[in-house]
Symmetry: C2
Subunit: 207 residues, 2 copies
């Protein structure tokens, strides 16, 4: 039978612009995050299912990698130094793990908005609430496709347009049973001034 | 009377090498962290007293500063985007807010130690436990005097000897009532291969 009707064919999901979702990902399953139009960021969180106090940690991951730019082969560690996800494919190679998810605070403090959008933080909080994650437990997300450069001399951070083009994607393999939060990012600067959707696909564990 | 017997003269405390302490700091009080011998890192944490779920956030602080190197005048934000501390004096200007506190995991994963020291993480967890802080709530610390450089091109992180010399210091002003955790860091690489003490002083709020 043709691949698109195979019982193993995975469904392609779409996250609307400036929104977010949460879902479970089982150990061994692979999550592919796709930028369908290009230059669109997706904030990714992963919590250990059954013990939500264990969550991805930028501080531990960057420390053990000795590198701020992660790509294929790199593990994403938890706050207990366990590997929660492993990057197994990456067509871009530039993602951010330094900056907080955009939020009403971001838009108020950085953009000066008086009626700020809830941002990725609010979208993640809302999507993850049914799984039992409270807002204070949301750490620095792995910001897929976000292009943050660092001036090694001055330490200046710049949010540049993503390097992702239409169809670019990153695949993460779950190293344990997880709850995932994922957004189509809501910050103008991070997405070259337009809000676009994000797509994702979950593929079963390989035999 | 001479200054050293004034009732307002603040006591100089010493943190022994490879250890840590916790204490309260009231709104308006100033904490000065001193490197008595030079080239010694001190990991600093601050939690809001009465609501320990609010804690310093590297992701929010670096985002709002648009800079990885913080110094005099810079605020340190919480995970709820409130300013917990403000740097009001700094004789060094090079501190780290990217990497996790060193821990038994650090020493096992990076150094290959088979009987690893508990590190700043273990020292902070032990010192903060009487205040009700559990280990999973320990985020990226503000690593006073830690000298982490970033290669802007490759993203490579390097832990270099601290730029602090004997007597260098940083002063933080509390913007609300806090619980502070503070260490003399236990990682060889962060401290140019020797473990030294850290001193600190608390000065009253200015009238
Ligand atoms: Zn966002
Ligand atoms: Zn340390």
């Amino acid at each position: 039978m043709p691949p698109e009707t195979s019982p193993l064919a995975s469904t392609l999901h779409e996250i609307a612009p400036r929104s977010g979702v949460a879902f479970t990902l089982d150990r061994g399953e692979r999550l592919t995050v796709i930028d369908p139009e290009g230059e669109q960021v997706a904030d990714l969180l992963a919590f250990v299912r059954g013990d939500l106090d264990e969550v991805i940690s930028s501080g531990r991951t960057l420390d053990y990698a000795s590198r701020i730019y992660l790509t294929t082969g790199d593990p994403i560690y938890s706050n207990r130094s366990n590997v929660l996800l492993r990057i197994v494919a990456d067509t871009v190679g530039r993602h951010d793990f330094l900056l907080t998810p955009c939020s009403a605070d971001t838009f108020r403090i950085i953009y000066g908005d008086t009626h700020p959008h809830r941002g990725c933080f609010g979208n993640l909080a809302a999507a993850l609430a049914p799984y039992g994650v409270v807002p204070d437990r949301i750490p620095v997300a792995f910001n897929v496709f976000m292009n943050v450069t660092v001036d090694g001399g001055t330490g200046e951070l710049k949010v540049e347009p993503p390097l992702s083009r239409a169809g670019d994607h990153v695949t993460f393999q779950a190293e344990c049973d997880l709850v995932i939060g994922l957004t189509a990012c809501s910050a103008l600067q991070s997405n070259n001034n337009s809000f676009k959707p994000i797509r994702y696909r979950i593929d079963p564990a390989r035999a």
